[in-house]
């Protein structure tokens, strides 16, 4: 595989350098991010965990070139990001489906926008929808889909063009644990097949450990990176590995950060 041939260590795909973000608001400024630095290699899976409101979504939007930073910079393949990046697929925290388009048409929007071969893309869109368990719902409008189904459609929309970088903001938040497990496995497979780099935001420590090469633990007010934990578990990871002592050890390590910061109290 050509992507594996490039030594990942030598070429960081994404570099976030000393990023700070302060939102100006009427009742005083809000500090959202404080000097956050992060590097991601090609094909690497990085998760960000942290309590609600610690600036995870803000970080993701700045990394995508969609929101501006107050200080610091974002580089992709050593080039400064000044405008919205298009080399990626984004799963937003709340699905963001267009309610006048059916599930299939919502996925196809990505293909239309990128002027892909629509016949091929439609085939692929149907495969993706079937893969996330939405066969038979292709022609339904979002209003008649459940929250979890909408989120799955938006995951398909982020995947259809095989982006080198995937940004996901709590993509499995609205799903039941069974579907979640299935999608976590699917995501692992898809990403290793195409060596997609994923920046993945989650509230679930287990999910982060299971999927990631690295877990970034953030603390709130203002959002700061507290610890970066390398997950050295062999791939592909299996559901059974969640019972292993190594897995428990990593989970405990993340939990300890939250306990030490008083975000979690025993």
């Amino acid at each position: 595989m050509p992507a594996a041939a490039i030594k990942p260590e030598t070429s960081p795909y994404l570099e976030i350098e000393n990023l700070s973000k302060v939102y100006a608001s009427n009742d005083g400024p809000v500090r959202a991010l404080d000097r956050v630095s992060l590097q991601q290699k090609r094909g690497e899976f990085v998760s960000i965990v942290g309590p609600s409101g610690c600036g995870k979504s803000t970080l993701l939007m700045i990394a995508a070139g969609l929101a501006s930073s107050s200080e610091g910079q974002v580089l992709v393949e050593n080039k400064l990001v000044r405008a919205a990046r298009t080399d990626l697929g984004i799963v937003f925290q709340n699905h963001v489906l267009l309610d006048w388009r059916t599930a299939l048409e919502n996925v196809m929007l990505q293909a239309v926008a990128r002027k892909m071969d629509l016949r091929v893309a439609e085939q692929r869109a149907r495969e993706l929808l079937a893969a996330v368990g939405l066969q038979g719902f292709e022609d339904k409008y979002p209003r008649s889909l459940s929250g979890g189904m909408k989120q799955r459609v938006s995951i398909c929309r982020a995947l259809i063009h095989d982006p080198p970088h995937l940004l996901m903001d709590e993509p499995f938040g609205a799903l039941d644990s069974l579907t979640r497990d299935q999608l976590v496995l699917d995501l692992q497979r898809i990403c290793s097949e195409r060596s997609t780099a994923v920046l993945f935001i989650t509230h679930s420590i287990a999910e982060a450990v299971f999927l990631s090469d690295r877990v970034v633990v953030m603390t709130p007010r203002p959002g700061k990176i507290d610890r970066v934990i390398d997950i050295d578990l062999p791939r592909p990871r299996t559901l059974a590995m969640r019972e292993s002592p190594e897995f428990a050890h990593y989970s405990r390590e993340i939990l300890d950060v939250f306990l030490a910061r008083g975000i979690l109290k025993e």
Partner: protein, 287 residues
Amino acid sequence: MVDMVSEDNGLLSIEQVERRVQEQTRAKRTRDRRAELIYPFLAGIGLLIVWELGTRVLNIPIYLFPPPSAVIVSAVKNWELLLRESWITSVEILAGYAVSIAVGIPLAFAIFRWPVFSKSIYPLLISSQAMPKVAVAPLFVVWFGFGLFPKVLIAFLIAFFPIVINTVMGLASIEREKIYLAQSMGLSSFETFRLIRLPNALPSIFAGLKISITLAVVGAVVGEFVGGDGGLGYQLMVANGSMDTPLLFAGIAALTVLGVLFYWIVEVVERLSMPHLERSPDIAGSV
């Protein structure tokens, strides 16, 4: 009913339940649709009966408040006149409405697109709405005489504002994430407009279009009041002058029919252009 029960345990299979739910929904929908027609119809009939009896029992003079029978007689007698005048008024309404759309929507796009426009024209436009446009109608008669043009102009002036306001509001009120999505897909601003902003604004635009059509009717009638030589509004004035109150009522009824008809047409267009908003049977069923 017997064949609905499966042999093994007496419980309905999911296919049977599905069939039943579908049948019930379909039956409910036809019942609802029929009720939508029948109830207003019955209410209307009831009202007419009360009205008829009321005017007879209280012995109200016909020139003050004619019974419906007298109005109907007058309408039948004058049907040719009413039809001709309705046509004239319809042309004025539709022309005024068409100009409202042709000016209002591009103006709204421009206000949305160019900040210069929104900063200079928009406040002016909004404050201009404080001016009672009916009051300038006589001026138009002075300027433009008695033809079609002044009526169309008044209908336009009264009707175009809600279109502008609602279109601007619809375009501006969009989730930031939808724009983020467009940007991350590399859509140009024109394509973003076509694929995302405009469809997103459509419900709001149609809300404006529906207010406007009723206002266009008002505008055309006002135009005929102040400087008419034809049309239902003019005919109302004539009937009023000759104390022909039944004809006056018939004219009002004809105007109402026109208003409802045009409104209904806009609503049909709305429903056709936004199929995803079709009333779902589940929601209709729970009401």
